[in-house]
Amino acid sequence: MESDEGERLPMSRRPEWSDVTPLPQDDGPDPVVLIDYKQDFTETMDYFRAVYRANERSPRALSLTQEAIRFNPGNYTVWHFRRQILESLDADLHEELDFVECIAKSNSKNYQIWHHRRWVAGKLGTDAAIMELEFTKKILSLDAKNYHAWSHRQWVLQALGGWEDELDFCRKLLKEDIFNNSAWNQRYFVVTRSPFLGGLIGMRDSEVSYTVEAIMANSENESPWRYLRGLYKDDIQSWVNDPKVSSVCLKVLSMKSNFVFALSMLLDLLCHGFRPSEEFREAIGGLRTSDSEPLDSDLGKAICHVLQHVDSMRANYWMWRKSKLPVAV
């Protein structure tokens, strides 16, 4: 079934296709815009149109869809017909997974491939869970942020199971690249949705420690800061009162570099009623450049002032934050 493009035998010279009359594309009455397709592609699609119109669900039609997909894996109709043939022939779906994997390696951002893969895995049921997690792992080893692979993985977990090692998988990917926002998102997905972990409240302590460590290693990393906030979803009071949250802000501020997200979180904390100690005031005072004005007595204003300067591209945002500050405590 494998076709090597270099040695491709034209279909018109293949005996098994001699009974089929190819059906050329009908470009309408007055084709002003003609696409000049490659001849091999045109021929394959002409034969495809013929078997599609005849609704021929045969092994040769199945192999024809394979050739057509290799030419253009984005054609919805070819995939659609292939599924109908697979169903009619009651074909071995494990073989189908191998085929999809082969196509996916060079087209890992193609929507149709992933959709087809999901259809096949859904047919195979829970037995396919481990295989599908392995498959996405392979794709993610080539591109750890592939949106389709993550999406497929989330579907597999929810539809077929396999949650047991998922937190560990996230940990491994984050160890490889702590800036990988997709892996942080997956971590949140697991913590909030895994039937085995006890949800946000059960996981909060250990997750906060993990996240604080990640922040201390790279305080310019946007993802763990957002993750930290997400761990207190619907529980703002715990977030404001948890000393682990305010202290990570303070620690980053005292390092005096890459502190934009720390200042931003501190600003959010203040807006939600956090009462800062003198240490916070001193740390923010330490961020001023020598020629700047004296520290504003309103800590929120002082923070916005610093951010306006160090994050000048978003100066308007920080100015707006300043204008929205609650009355000083």
Binding site: G28, V32, N72, Q154, F179, E222, R314
Partner: protein, 346 residues
Amino acid sequence: MPLLFYHIRPEAIPKTRYLMGELAADKHVKYIISIEKKKDNFESVVMEHLRMNGAYWGLTTLDLLGKLDAMMEVLFVGGFAGNIGHDPHILYTLSAVQVLALFDKLDVLDIDKVSNYISGLQNEDGSFSGDIWGEVDTRFSYIAVCCLSILHRLDKVDVDNAVNYIVSCKNLDGGFGCTPGGESHAGQIFCCVGALAITGALHHVDKDLLGWWLCERQVKSGGLNGRPEKLPDVCYSWWVLSSLIMIDRVHWISKEKLVKYILGCQDLENGGISDRPDDAVDIFHTYFGVAGLSLLEYPGLKAIDPAYALPDDVVKRIFFAHRHCRSDLSLARRRLLLKLAVVFCN
């Protein structure tokens, strides 16, 4: 199956020399016409299924550049596959409807047939599938809502339920993913915010949180990325900017730096815009670059509607020419008020 055919008038295009930091408008017109005309070098095989989307990208860009009327006339319309011999898919349906709207030819459609096709794709949880095979994605929610609104048939679907599904895809950072729990992505955010804007449900968006996430997408070069720690790409000038405009937060980014970034991605010799400086140009990025500049109010470009992704005058024509449809009319009024508010903010 009939499809859209348009004729390109063989007019001479003036030759102009452009400097860095200036929009090479005529070159882009020339580039678009050259690829719409002879598709043989238009990655013809790979892009074959996107012929209808390609028409939308190219023609909308021409309209924004003020050249649509001069260059094109529609000869024949109908049909909604990506190309002849392909099955219908909601992706191509929207492009077809948008192209017809551009040419003020929506009346050639069998509107009931199209809207029945779309409403038949809504699932029980409010989501939409892309075709009869059931792939679900918030992209399809946007497409369905946008199409039906343009056709004045939003009443054909359960709008509240459609909104609920989109809201279920909201994340801790205020953004949206393709399905519940999916990572926030600027493209998906555009789809979700756009659908919520069209259905008058923007109150579900945490505008300040999402606005901050979106403006964090601007990187040092001035360009925008689609997710944290990803490279900037001209296409996000559309996805991010339009979302920021819909939630009234576009002044939070540096517009000057973004304009400079987009202009730096032009091919000043042969026209067209690429994803990043010095990469190969394509029609997709040419559209997003010009549409982004239009959102940034770059001089000489027509204004584009951030939710419908069509020129403002086209959107006005759609909603004010059909006074019998009250819900859509009030929506158009709301959108106008929103726009005035944006003007005052800036």
